[in-house]
């Protein structure tokens, strides 16, 4: 049997469906108990670039039985006005989670907006407190793309304890959170980036290789350990010789699949799972909000819920 026959694609679709089905069950129970989950999507200014994403989020939310409401703000809004709107949503018990669609106009500091979302409503997992909670091994609510990537690795069935993991790309919302998530699961993690002396030397010793740098076909077959799992998080638009454009990842899939035991297709790998994680995060947020509510107004010890 050749290596290529032994290789297999890690497809995101079935994983996403499984997650959404579980969310659907949870959401139905929560709704029956009087706590219907609800997402608010915030877009600012020209939304043409994000409309396709928002439509997809809405469709998947409906599938899962989660209300989805869009709030569109004009490009001329000030950061202070937006922050006030977010504080209003934080205070509204009917709102479970808040999504800030990117990009926002350049005069709006996106990090400040993300930090304005109450950590209990941070379904995107981007608030500094959410990131810090992952470091403290509270792994159930993480940035969506990072959590989606880890879900795909788990699909391989590899034992994460002691697994040699190399992550190429050290962004705050992808590379670094993948690192903490996997450290907490017992993996030995190395994070490489544009200042790393030899990415290839690290990549070649990885049992699991994550790549999120936005460089088409950066990872070639000679940079991958035979039998490794390769999770490709890049999304790049490439113009072919005939002038047509196509989406490719950061991994040279055709050659790497001859070496790796598992590889994610792009598109169709991490992407589909990302929205499913957003919905799962919504249910985690709802359950934390309910725990706080019950601890505050019920008889339970308030501290125990926090």
């Amino acid at each position: 049997m050749s290596l290529s026959e032994d290789s297999r694609y890690l497809k995101g679709g079935p994983v996403a469906q499984r997650i959404i089905a579980a969310v659907r069950e949870d959401a139905a129970i929560a709704k029956a108990e009087g706590f219907p989950p609800k997402l608010i999507s915030i877009t600012v200014g020209d939304t043409a670039a994000v409309d396709v994403y928002v439509r997809n989020q809405r469709a998947k939310a409906q599938l899962a039985g989660i209300d989805f409401e869009e709030r569109r703000f004009p490009a001329a809004i000030t950061a202070g006005e937006l922050e006030a709107a977010i504080h209003g949503l934080n205070a509204d018990p009917r709102v479970t989670g808040i999504i800030i669609q990117r990009p926002v106009p350049v005069h709006i500091p996106i990090r400040t907006l993300q930090a304005a979302v109450h950590p209990l409503k941070d379904v995107e997992g981007m608030h500094p407190a959410s990131i810090g909670n992952i470091v403290y091994n509270q792994l159930d609510l993480a940035p969506c793309t990072a959590a989606a990537s880890v879900e795909l690795l788990k699909e391989t069935g590899l034992d994460l304890k002691g697994l040699e993991v190399v992550i190429v790309g050290h962004s705050e919302i992808v590379g670094k959170p993948i690192a903490f998530l996997l450290m907490s699961e017992g993996a030995t993690v190395t994070v490489c980036h544009h200042m790393t002396r030899s990415v290839a030397a690290h990549a070649r010793r990885a049992d699991a290789l994550f790549v999120a740098v936005g460089k088409p076909r950066l990872i070639k077959a000679d940079m991958v350990k035979p039998g490794a799992a390769v999770i490709d998080i890049g999304i790049n638009s490439e113009i072919g010789p005939d002038g047509s454009s196509r989406i490719v990842g950061d991994v040279d899939t055709e050659s790497v699949r001859e070496v790796a035991s598992w590889i994610t297709p792009v598109p169709g790998g991490v992407g589909p799972i990302t929205v499913a994680i957003l919905l799962r995060n919504t249910m985690v947020a709802l359950s934390r909000q309910r725990a706080l509510y019950e601890a505050t107004y019920g008889t339970a010890d308030r501290l125990a819920a926090e």
Copy 2:
């Protein structure tokens, strides 16, 4: 020249003195401007184990011109009462920072107490939001031991960009924060721990090796790359053949100093810097509090300060 002659100890004392002198200048200016920095130390129950640390903190704070006040609570206090006391300190504009001395009695959940401290008063750098801010490259306020260890590495003058760093130990307040601090400085970081298949294999390729696991003499000379910098964060009590006890680190210093170019003594390496970082964190907290105050009550844009 033998390697041992080329080796040198990275002593913490001079670094601590330099940091405290800088804090002293900042504190004097802040005081003259009407914002005297003040630390509150919280101890719960039997304090015999921590008294020596608290006395040291008080002495160093006095040296730096920072007020230091102790609040001692009885062992029978509830977590809720302690949390209420912390909320009172959060709301008191005269209090710059809050230190929760460990250990606390077993019925008090320490993580909950740490999370009750407002992030703007979190001079120990242990609040999840403080940890998350480091991940987001806001590096000026970090857990004291982690920041102290990074200060010592910087003393070597090694270029952190592209430096191969290996950290042995993945605790939330030492190993992991060192990892993010150094990732943000451009190092290529690997974090090892008790589930790592071969700590030695990783350690041997490190330009800088951090060890924080609490195992006396875990790191031997054959696990260290010639010319490396070795930062020993372990503090272990060892009983000698004559029955007397002494403090040793996680590194077998006598043998490793023949191989490494830099090595921290234990005691006298990271330890002395830790309290200096606590005081420096106090001034960072004060400056963030002032920025928020001015933005809220002054004319500046409130968002810009957050």
